[in-house]
C-alpha cells in the first residue's frame, strides 16, 4: 500500500498507486483531510477540542478478480 502525495508531504511519489486492492479496475478517490473534532470522555464528562490531521480516506468501486479467479463487483473504503 502506498500514500501518493506531493513532495512537501514527504510520503510516496505523487504518481504512486492509490488503490489498495490488486487486480482491480474502477473508480478511486484518495485524500488526506484535516479539521477539528470535539472529544467527550463519557466517564468524566471532559470535553476537548482536538485536531484531526491528514486522515487518509479512500474509496474504490469497480470490478476485481477474486482469489477464486472470478471477476466480482465491489465497493471498498480505506479508513
Amino acid at each position: 500500500m502506498f500514500a501518493p502525495g506531493p513532495p512537501k508531504l514527504n510520503i510516496d511519489p505523487i504518481d504512486a498507486e492509490p488503490i489498495t486492492i490488486n487486480n482491480f479496475e474502477g473508480f478511486v478517490g484518495l485524500t488526506y483531510v484535516s479539521g477539528m473534532v470535539t472529544q467527550t470522555n463519557t466517564r468524566t464528562g471532559e470535553i476537548l477540542r482536538l485536531p484531526f490531521i491528514n486522515s487518509d480516506m479512500r474509496f474504490m468501486t469497480g470490478k476485481f478478480r477474486g482469489t477464486d479467479g472470478d471477476i466480482h463487483k465491489g465497493t471498498f473504503a480505506l479508513v
Binding site: G5, N23, F24, F27, G29, V33, T38, L50, F59, A77
Partner: protein, 155 residues
C-alpha cells in the same frame, strides 16, 4: 481517523487516537473494508465524488506506530465510526501509466482536486463529533479511474 493533541510546551501535536478497521497485525485488505455500492458516488467528469458510511467497526490504536508495529494497547478500545467525505473541483487532470517496479503497475486517469470530511465516532470511553464538513480541508486529494494487476495490460 488520526486525532492529535497539542500539549503544553510541545511545538508539534501528538497523536492520541488512531481509529482504523484492521486487526493487528494488519494483513489482507490493509485498513480496507467492503461497503454497500451506494456508499460511493462518482461524477468524474464534474470532479465530484462522495464516500459515506455509518457504524463502521474500528479499533483505537492510539498512534499510527502502534497500529503498524505495536505495541497494541491492552485492552484495545473498540467502537464505530460514521463519516462523509466529499471530493470537488478540478485543479489538475493527469493520465498516469506507471510501470515503476515499486510504485507502479497501474494506469489511470485522475483529477487532482480538494476534499472535505465530517465524522462521528464512539470508541472506548470517548465520543467524537467533528465540525461540519465545510470547515475541513485537504492537503492532497484525487479521484480517478484506474486499472491494475490483470486489468493492466502492460502487467
Amino acid at each position: 481517523m488520526d486525532v492529535y493533541q497539542l500539549r503544553a510546551g510541545d511545538q508539534t501535536p501528538t497523536q492520541i487516537h488512531d481509529l482504523n478497521p484492521s486487526t493487528f497485525p494488519p494483513v489482507g485488505l490493509f485498513w480496507t473494508i467492503e461497503l454497500p455500492e451506494e456508499s460511493v458516488e462518482v461524477r468524474l467528469e464534474k470532479g465530484r465524488a462522495s464516500l459515506q458510511a455509518s457504524d463502521v467497526p474500528v479499533f483505537d490504536y492510539g498512534t499510527l506506530g502502534n497500529a503498524l508495529f505495536g505495541p497494541v494497547p491492552s485492552p484495545l478500545p473498540t467502537g464505530s465510526v460514521s463519516f462523509r467525505v466529499v471530493w470537488s473541483g478540478v485543479q489538475q487532470r493527469v493520465n498516469i501509466r506507471n510501470t515503476d517496479p515499486v510504485y507502479g503497475g497501474f494506469a489511470g486517469e485522475f483529477i487532482r482536486n480538494k476534499a472535505q470530511m465530517e465524522w462521528t465516532a464512539t470508541v472506548g470511553d470517548y465520543t467524537f463529533v467533528s465540525d461540519p464538513l465545510t470547515t475541513s480541508s485537504s492537503v492532497f486529494a484525487e479521484i480517478g479511474h484506474e486499472r491494475n494487476g490483470s486489468f493492466f495490460p502492460e502487467g
